[in-house]
Amino acid sequence: MSIISVNDLVVSFGSGSDFKQVVKNVAFDVEPGETFGLVGESGCGKSTVLGALAGRIKGWSGSISIDGEAVGPKRSRSQLAKQQMVFQDPFGSLHPRHTIGRTLLEPLEIHGFDQRQERVERVLRDVGLPPGFRHRFPHQLSGGQRQRVAIARALILNPGILLLDEPTSALDVSIQAEILNLLKDLRERDKLTYVLVSHDMAVIAHLCNRVAVMLDGQFVEVASREQLLRGSVQHPYTRTLLDGSRGYVPPPKLAS
């Protein structure tokens, strides 16, 4: 049974002349343990889909069910704990005046978990940070370490699903490799399901089993990892994105 099932998802913002449909009739299923990618350019609605899954965006219609349970725009606390988000910018997503320990304790307090100190220590170890880091502030950490904290904060509620919104695009290549490896390890160990938003096809192909290519709020194609690697994709837009991640492709010169 699918752990995430989305049908006829429509998200719109504004009203009257400002009304805009950002996600148009999107449907997909994600199997347990699978990593499902969402790829597209800015404004295509990929992060909005993720926001609707996370319960951050309320103005949607259609149906979303998570772990076999249909959820509405308003969710209970236990429903919210089932999926957790990791954001793009590790500089903006951690409270600058809270220590790492306090940042990690907050979700535990909200959701009424016990053994809080032990959980903080364990999750820091899981993401490869020494326990002493709980006393530090975000500005005392590098970008990669901060992103590890953001992952730790998402993991501390033991969610089955991580929603990753461009988790490595603010990081240097070498740091990106560390975070991608960490995400792979955690996925294997804890049997996690990921939904990954990215604009980088190489990152998508590295981590995902399947990817939905979004253009203007709609899926133009859902391709498997093998299709991406073989280059046997159907839609020309998918091909453009694939070429783009390989670097600069000079346009074909017109014979003159």
């Binding site: 290549v173 490799a177 783009g244």
Partner: protein, 282 residues
């Protein structure tokens, strides 16, 4: 072609130092390189000194910074001894710079047309009408379909891709012989990026000028540039032909290539970089 092979820019043993409360920070450490009529990429991670290098050539470093070099020569100008007014005549006219985000580098309270025209009005003493015509021609050259309309727009009214094409037209309107582009396409989407790069590529070829292309994107530099300089901790660790980047020998360059997820060479795990102190030494 002796004229062709003579470098436009020649930098020898340049260092850029920033005095701080906790001692002197050397952001760029003894770098030497030449740029001819070619596209030279500078690759490095954040903090490697690649942007500082670009700014030091333009003498745009902060007032507190010290630039030391044995030689910094741009065509017939000694950049080390040139006065501020001589530099003002060079910046924008003979060396120009394209920055990452057009949202921040364009003046928000001037129409884009006025901003582009300003360059030739100041540097070439062109009249308003002639400057306007040059601007419209230049906007057309960077594939802007309706130059008349775009001329009167303000920066917030244009998209990112168009903003960057406007930057390019502003930088190329006065026929510079060297362009420094600092992450010119990092803020752009893939499809727009291809378009902007192909315009830049055409103009560089057509005018036979030099380009310094500062970027963190290995694939992009490999496919766009002729030669690549790889920087680590303020030093140049390797210079290599772009097409031979895959055969790089320095462990840092190899490490970067191994750390990059690739569609052509999928791997289950990515190698992480094991940094060595010796890379930061000469």
């Amino acid at each position: 072609m002796p004229e062709q092979s003579k470098p436009i820019l020649s930098v020898k043993n340049m260092s850029v130092q920033f005095p701080t409360l906790s001692g002197v920070v050397t952001a760029v450490n003894n770098v030497s390189f030449d740029v001819g009529r070619e596209k030279v990429g500078i690759i490095g991670e954040s903090g490697s000194g690649k942007s500082t290098t670009g700014r030091a050539i333009m003498r745009l470093q902060p007032a507190t910074a010290h630039v030391i070099a044995d030689e910094m020569r741009f065509e017939d100008v000694d950049l080390l001894t040139a006065s501020e007014s001589e530099m003002r005549a060079i910046r924008g006219r003979r060396i120009s710079m394209i920055l990452q985000d057009p949202k921040y580098s364009l003046n928000p309270v001037m129409t884009v047309g006025e901003q582009i025209a300003e360059t030739v009005i100041l540097h070439e003493r062109l009249g308003r009408r002639a400057a306007r015509e040059r601007t419209l021609a230049m906007l057309e050259r960077v594939n802007i379909r309706d130059p008349q309309r775009v001329f009167n727009l303000y920066p917030h009214e244009v998209s990112g891709g168009m903003g960057q094409r406007i930057m390019i037209s502003m930088m190329l309107i006065s026929s510079p012989s060297l362009i420094i582009a600092d992450e010119p396409t990092s803020a752009l989407d893939v499809t727009v990026r291809q378009q902007v790069l192909s315009i830049l590529d055409d103009l560089i070829r057509e005018r036979n000028i030099g380009l310094i292309f500062i970027s963190h994107d290995l694939n992009l530099v490999k496919s766009f540039c002729d030669r690549v300089i790889i920087m680590y901790a303020g030093r140049i660790v390797e210079t290599i032909e772009a097409s031979k980047l895959d055969q790089a020998t320095h462990p840092y360059t190899c490490g970067l290539l191994e750390a990059l997820p690739s569609l052509d060479r999928p791997r289950d795990r990515l190698e992480t970089l094991k940094r060595q102190a010796s890379w930061a030494e000469a």
